[in-house]
């Protein structure tokens, strides 16, 4: 099993390894770049002073919470002075002169950035195949066809692959409809999407502002709590940032849950799923039943509308957010005789196929004559979906679902957009409701590929959600397999 943040910190405190040695170990792996999980690996020289400062804090006996921990940063977070591309041609030369709120918190806590992780272009995708910099390869192989390169999931595919291949200790990604949880599941790691409004969106390249949320991809649940402690803070620069009191997610993490827990399993989610996926739910149920946790069947009334709602709202918001890329103020400009030509040429040549498709969907559902029928109707159905979740969370404390409907598939296998969109069937509803969800690895498929289960909790109750996930992780002992 890979070392956890607390194990690494212990080794640093006991001087079994130096910050510099630790950094180099991960840097070498990141530089080898076999899986294309990084768009950019930061030069060692740019990190030298951070490494020194971190080592000094260890030597003085007062290390910061993430001191010296090498992290991967999804190439969607603006990083001051470091190229930030959103894996798009149109931003391929963009160097932000400010730091996103979330990455600033990680720096304040002493972590060191290895580089910027590859992702789907503007985070639009479920396989990391829409990146301008090429697909990411899942470090896992199908044991029955070893030579096939598989997708890592998406959009935070590079972030998930980097943690799984060991080129960073943990990474920070973003999740709009499943972009943290789905790749975490397909790469056999932990991925947490916090409640919408937990982590500031300031400085994250915007996709769909009512859904985008940052969160950790890690080797274990405890590491997710470390990262969440750092990044989950109120920020005035994001008007949707919640100002509720945050808890320390590490304290009592491995203690048993205080009250008797009841978990709902949505029976409608499990119709027509494969044995591989059913096994994950059964194993998790079995593992947790030992602890007196009660399982009940629950039924959603809105599941069949979730993907439709999402594929109206997310493209609508994206088409508005991506209107800013005009070739005038930043990004790549394509020449044209008039200003209008510059807009048209820069955008048409700067965006890839999937991003273009989503902008077109968004423009259509927002256009005169269709706004009420599609966009407004989807916003109303979104409320029904939220109400549906609230009804069920009045009956149970958590919801258990598969994270994905299938294992990692071959690169190039899914060409039709709708079959790709269906990959997010279990993660999209949670995103629409704004609830927190965590995916933990639960076992292997018949082909020897990792699969995950998702626990969904109530608003801002990440603390108990992490406690439950830690317990399930211990019982399922995926990392010891």
């Amino acid at each position: 099993m890979k070392n956890s943040i607390s194990q690494i910190k212990k080794a640093l405190i006991e001087k079994k390894i130096s910050v510099s040695e630790l950094y180099d170990e991960y840097l070498v792996k990141a530089k080898s770049g076999n899986n294309n999980s990084f768009n950019l690996v930061i030069d060692r020289e740019n990190n030298i002073s951070s490494i020194k400062d971190s080592q000094n804090r260890y030597d003085n006996g007062n290390p910061l919470p993430l001191d010296g921990i090498p992290l991967g940063i999804k190439d969607l977070f603006c990083t001051k002075g470091i190229r930030t591309t959103a894996s798009s041609k149109i931003l391929s030369n963009f160097i932000p002169n400010y730091e996103s709120f979330v990455t600033q918190q990680l720096l304040n806590d002493g972590s060191i950035f290895i580089g910027k992780n590859n992702c789907d272009e503007f985070a639009m995708g479920s396989s990391n195949e829409t990146s301008y910099f090429g697909p990411v390869i899942n470090p896992w192989k199908n044991k029955n066809s070893q030579k096939d390169n598989l997708v890592p999931g998406g959009s935070s595919g590079g972030s998930a692959a980097a943690v799984a291949e060991g080129s960073c200790v943990a990474s920070i990604g973003t999740d709009t409809g499943g972009s943290i949880r789905q790749p975490a599941s397909l790469c056999g790691i932990v991925g947490l999407k916090p409640t919408f409004g937990s982590c500031s969106r300031w400085g994250i390249v915007a996709f769909a502002s009512s859904l985008d949320q940052a969160g950790p991809l890690t080797n274990c649940v405890e590491d997710a709590a470390y990262i969440l402690n750092s990044v989950n803070k109120h920020d005035f620069n994001d008007s949707t940032s919640s100002n509720h009191q945050r808890e320390d997610y590490l304290i009592d993490m491995n203690n048993s849950l205080e009250k008797k827990v009841k978990i709902g399993i949505p029976s409608d989610y499990l119709e027509d799923v494969s044995d591989d996926i059913l096994n994950q739910i059964d194993n998790t149920k079995k593992a947790l039943s030992k602890h007196g946790i009660e399982f009940v069947d629950v039924e959603f009334k809105t599941t069949e509308y979730a993907l439709s709602t999402y594929y109206i709202l997310a493209p609508a918001e994206a088409s508005s957010n991506l209107a800013r890329y005009d070739g005038v103020r930043y990004g790549v400009r394509e020449d044209g005789e008039s200003l209008d030509d510059i807009y048209l040429n820069s955008r048409t040549k700067g965006f890839g196929d999937e991003v273009t498709r989503r902008i077109l969907i968004g423009a259509y559902v927002l256009s005169a004559g269709y706004y009420d029928a599609y966009y407004r109707q989807a916003q109303k159905v979104r409320r029904l979906i939220k109400n549906d979740f609230q009804r069920i969370l009045n009956e149970v404390d958590f919801i258990l679902t598969p994270t994905t409907p299938n294992e990692a598939f071959k690169i190039g296998d899914k060409l039709d957009p709708i079959s790709m969109y269906k990959n997010d069937i279990y993660t999209v509803p949670t995103s629409l409701a704004g609830l927190p969800g965590i995916s933990i690895p639960s076992g292997l498929s018949k082909n020897g590929l990792p699969l995950g289960v998702q626990f969904i909790g109530n608003y801002f109750e990440e603390k108990t959600l992490l406690q439950l996930a830690a317990l399930a992780e211990k019982e399922l002992s995926f990392n010891e397999q």
Partner: protein, 93 residues
């Protein structure tokens, strides 16, 4: 569902689709719009649209001037600049 005018939609989005790709996007859009059409059967007469899921994020801060972004910072990524301006082709004669 009425036919999709791909030229109009792409113009609204400030995109100039190459003619050989118009059909590709047009068909793709049709498929997706057909796929999401099931929302029409949901009764939402008494339902308010949902804009912000957590609906409790209003926070007030003091109105203080904060120093951020110099002119040079803001212009540092401009494809073309002239003095303190973004430069584009002439718009008015």
């Amino acid at each position: 569902m009425s036919d999709i005018d791909i030229k109009r939609i792409s113009y609204l989005a400030k995109l100039k689709l190459p003619s050989e790709k118009e059909e590709f996007y047009s068909n793709s859009l049709k498929d997706i719009i057909k796929w999401v059409d099931n929302l029409k059967k949901v009764d939402t007469k008494k339902i308010e649209p949902l804009h912000n899921v957590t609906e409790k994020t209003v926070s007030i801060r003091n109105d203080e001037v904060i120093k951020s972004n110099s002119v040079d910072d803001v212009l540092s990524n401009a494809p073309e600049r002239a003095q303190n301006f973004f430069k584009v082709p002439k718009v008015v004669e």
